[in-house]
Symmetry: C2
DNA sequence: CGAGAGAATTGTAGCGCTACAAGACAGAAG
DNA sequence: CTTCTGTCTTGTAGCGCTACAATTCTCTCG
């Protein structure tokens, strides 16, 4: 900065103001400074600036996976929101809670303006760190027991809505595919909600099969096989993701079963594949873009000193009805 | 830090050393300092530390999209490499070159240890900035005309290898699906390579159809329709991505065409869907994880002052043969 | 028992920038 | 011609940390 100041014939403060407070500097002076900076490839050192000003315009987000298009929309939502407010977003991939902890420590070390996490399952050490910091924290995709703030939707409510949708189609023999093993809590919330809905409707709540999360499309055929054995006249299968649902649809194709006439199928997540395959998948669409946007908004509101009153935002969901169910 | 030092009864320097140079501090003292820090949720301010030491252990990467699993493996490769060397990786999503420019400016402002980009298509302003900085720059997925360093594979060579693979299956009527409009150069490299290979083999090089990149799976049916009209006896379709190839396979299912007997199909990218659908897709697999790893390695080598001699690394590719072709 | 070597610890200065207060300067009013 | 006002510009101090040199504190050895 010293160098640029000298080259432009002004003081370092004027250089600083040219970048950060354009209105404080005369137009002509500012343009000259910016020109000199551009000529020399000078970019203000944010680390130093943030240190001096005690604030940061960078928000850190930890995302567990970048494999599905819901997360893509979620990230876009965050990116769009930060861009609209002159902030920056930095992302770290973390597939395990241990990686998440490392990422959180890094963000805290960088003194980011806020941290956005996915889910509410963290290492005890992470929770400890998060509770002690004054940095705004937002947990997304869930709305229970936030450490600080949360943005998400109610998985149980979405499950009930999906069951009601298939009931309204006149379907009664409803099979449910869930994930077995150590999976995120937002998956485990679905089964009890399904059972409850079925009992309320006076229908069999036990047409349930659990598959491995790692099986991808492959989980479809095995789930279909298992549920068909439980009830050969099964009418519809509710899947934990659109990937599994697509696997079921492909398997129906192989078996020569018409979808939805012989078997209806519903997915979850409204991934890209849901609208691309034939028949299109009926699925639950979380408002992923909105969720990302709201998460950033919560951080910014907190930074602006606004009331921390409503710390939980429900971005809702929609049951998207396509041809598969 | 002052606070922690006081609480632990040592000087600030000892606190600093406890974190950064454990060997300089007596075990007992170090543990006490770390304990006090943990109790108070203290995390050293990296911005200040980096400023004082004049170095950074953070590498910035700009990625254009997180929609496909190749990029996922690529990011994992980078993440694994930085983790192995005690560095951190921060990601920014940028779908346009303008967004990329903003991201690059942010990284430069953060004084990262290195910047990793995808492709070699950038804004003139970005190139200018990149040439003037002394920060190591790596461009990935391409190996032509790097600004600084590059890691990638030769798309033309992979195209030729794919054509040879289908030729070796005895197929002769080969259709090609490309992307129309403003697409990344790595897509545009494929068509000339295809034409050349076909001419060398003495076969029709004009069974070509261009589709819109945004069409996803939907591009499959329209491409199939168009190529079938060009040559009703077409034997194989080479697609620009596995998504398009999957779209073609699904469409074949609808038409009752057996794959690969009636029509063989090849994709590109070895996305997850390639191995999940039936029949599995024959496709080109870029060594995405390796590419990410090598990109980080190049940055670290440069940081370690090692020779900048070999600045281009070819991570190669593989033609993965599955049932579809 | 004092000198010397080595380990552990501690001041000092400064990284590049910004907040804030103070200064310079032009033009308007008296 | 002085005073005042408002605009533009500039010193000063310090953000939280680390490199480096200096210091203190063992402990060993002649």
């Amino acid at each position: 900065m010293q160098f640029v100041a000298k080259a432009a014939g002004v003081s370092p403060m004027t250089v600083s103001n040219s970048f950060r407070h354009p209105e404080r500097v005369q137009e002509e002076t500012r343009l000259r400074v910016l020109q000199v900076a551009a000529d020399h490839g000078y970019v203000p050192n944010r680390a130093a600036g943030d240190l001096a000003s005690g604030q940061s315009r960078v928000i850190g987000a930890v995302i567990p996976s970048i494999k599905n298009s819901s997360f893509y929309r979620y990230v876009r939502g965050m990116q769009d929101a930060v861009a609209a407010h002159g902030y920056e977003l930095i992302l770290t991939l973390a597939d395990t809670t241990v990686q998440e902890h490392v990422a959180v420590a890094t963000f805290l070390g960088l003194r980011v303006a806020g941290i956005i996490l996915v889910g509410n399952e963290h290492e005890p050490a992470t929770i400890d760190l998060l509770r002690k910091t004054s940095v705004p924290i937002v947990e997304t995709w869930v709305i229970h027991d936030p450490i600080d703030m949360a943005v998400g939707y109610c998985v149980a409510a979405a499950t009930r809505a999906l069951v009601e949708t298939v009931l309204s189609r006149g379907l009664r023999r409803i099979g449910f595919v869930g994930y077995a093993g150590e999976v995120s809590r937002r998956f485990t919330e679905r089964l009890p909600a399904f059972r409850e809905s079925m009992e309320t409707a006076g229908l069999r709540p036990d047409l349930v099969h659990l598959v491995d999360e790692a099986d991808g499309f492959g989980a479809g055929p095995s789930a279909l096989e298992a549920l068909h054995r439980l009830d050969p006249a099964i009418e519809v299968v509710l899947c934990p993701t659109d990937i599994v649902a697509a696997g079921v649809v492909f398997e129906c194709g192989r078996r020569g079963w018409a979808v939805p006439e012989r078997l209806a199928v519903a997915g979850w997540g409204d991934y890209e594949i849901a609208s691309e395959i034939t028949p299109g998948l009926t699925t639950v669409q979380p408002n992923a873009h909105d969720m990302g946007w709201q998460a950033v908004t919560l951080v910014l509101n907190r930074a602006a000193g606004e009331a921390a009153a409503e710390t939980v935002v429900d971005t809702g969901f929609a049951v998207v009805c396509r041809a598969s169910a």
